[in-house]
Amino acid sequence: MTKMKIKRISLLLLISTVGLFQTGCFGVTSHFKSIRESVAQRVDKDYVKRFEFGIGRSMMSVAGLFIRVAEKNNDESENVDDLFAQIDLIEFSIFEKRDHSRNSPEVKVLDDLIYKLENNHYEYFVKFKDGNELGIVFLRESKDSYDRLLLVTFADENMVIAEMRGNLEGMIDWALKKRTMEVASNN
């Protein structure tokens, strides 16, 4: 193999790897940034942003593979894997509390978020508090369906904002059955 050929192949591999990461993991969309700002404004100066990133389909497939390998004895792992396979994009923003001595937010914060986001066509359908964890799940309306699922949770020192886009039916079904009803039935 000539030196030229090796160089060309190496360049191709490098571009492909960068390309893979580009489709797998990247910055967030302007839409998500505006939603993140709407949420962050409500908690004012209590939290500081630490990480923010988006995960596309290819990285989701890798994540699904890890779940299947890690949970190979768990029947649910295939279901979770299937759920992720239907998602096109997940965007995350992770915040940390500035002052760790301050109390965690109360349920009232969730009501304020509902009020703030309803103008952006977000409807909440799940609200929960479980020990130190507080959270709310929204769906964004789009014509006759929903095109985005937004989760805002407060747990210990962190606030996480996550939004997913894609075929949400399975995720909604899962959220209804697993998350809130576990709390509701005290399991």
């Binding site: 909440y124 609200k127 929960f128 508090k129 020990g131 369906s145 039916e169 809130t180 039935s185 005290n186």
Partner: protein, 191 residues
């Protein structure tokens, strides 16, 4: 002049559209709707959950269920709203919860709801009510309960309800106490 009329028409149309959207989420005119208020009964350290499934989301859930269970899908498709409020009961809030269950009972009696299940024991307190329309269909269902696992649940289901099959929602959404409905309209006291 024509432009002014068009502008006025456009404003009225826009205002009407906003009004329609507002009414889509306003259930206070529904005979089967009950407003339980906020989750202010919850103990500070306990767990709390609220689930609200409006018509649009219920249609989606119905569509998802159609492949597995047509009867369940049809049941869900006839509903307009499901609200479930659930939280842990402790020594701190037990009295407030019992008071709320009793005040809901008084309120619903005043509004001509029929209580179809009443279970009042040491550890368990369950009331289930239905709202019947003049056409003798059931437009609403309420569950107000506190069970032996120290869990309080308030459920409101609005829409076209069939008592024979409504218990199936208990499996689908894991809503407690719906299975206690046996399709009868008589008040059943259990102690």
């Amino acid at each position: 002049m024509k432009l002014r009329i068009l502008a006025i028409l456009a404003i009225f149309t826009f205002a009407a559209m906003i009004n329609i959207n507002a009414q889509q989420n306003d259930y206070s005119n529904e005979p089967g709707y009950v407003n339980f208020g906020n989750l202010d009964l919850a103990d500070e350290n306990g767990s709390v959950a609220e689930v609200i499934l409006e018509a649009k989301l219920l249609r989606m859930v119905s569509k998802m269920a159609k492949g597995e269970d047509e009867e369940l899908a049809n049941l869900i498709a006839g509903l307009k709203l499901i609200v479930v409020n659930s939280f842990e009961v402790s020594a701190n809030n037990k009295d407030k919860v019992v008071d709320r269950i009793n005040s809901i009972d008084k309120d619903l009696n005043k509004k001509s709801w029929d209580r179809i299940v009443r279970i009042k024991g040491k550890e368990e307190n369950v009331n289930i009510y239905i709202k019947t329309t003049p056409e003798e269909t059931i437009a609403g269902l309420v569950v107000a309960a506190m069970d032996e696992n120290d869990q309080a649940t308030f459920v409101n289901i609005v829409g076209d309800i069939d008592l024979e099959t409504i218990g199936r929602l208990s499996d689908k959404f894991d809503i407690p106490n719906l299975e206690k409905i046996n399709g009868g309209k008589n008040d059943k006291d259990e102690d």
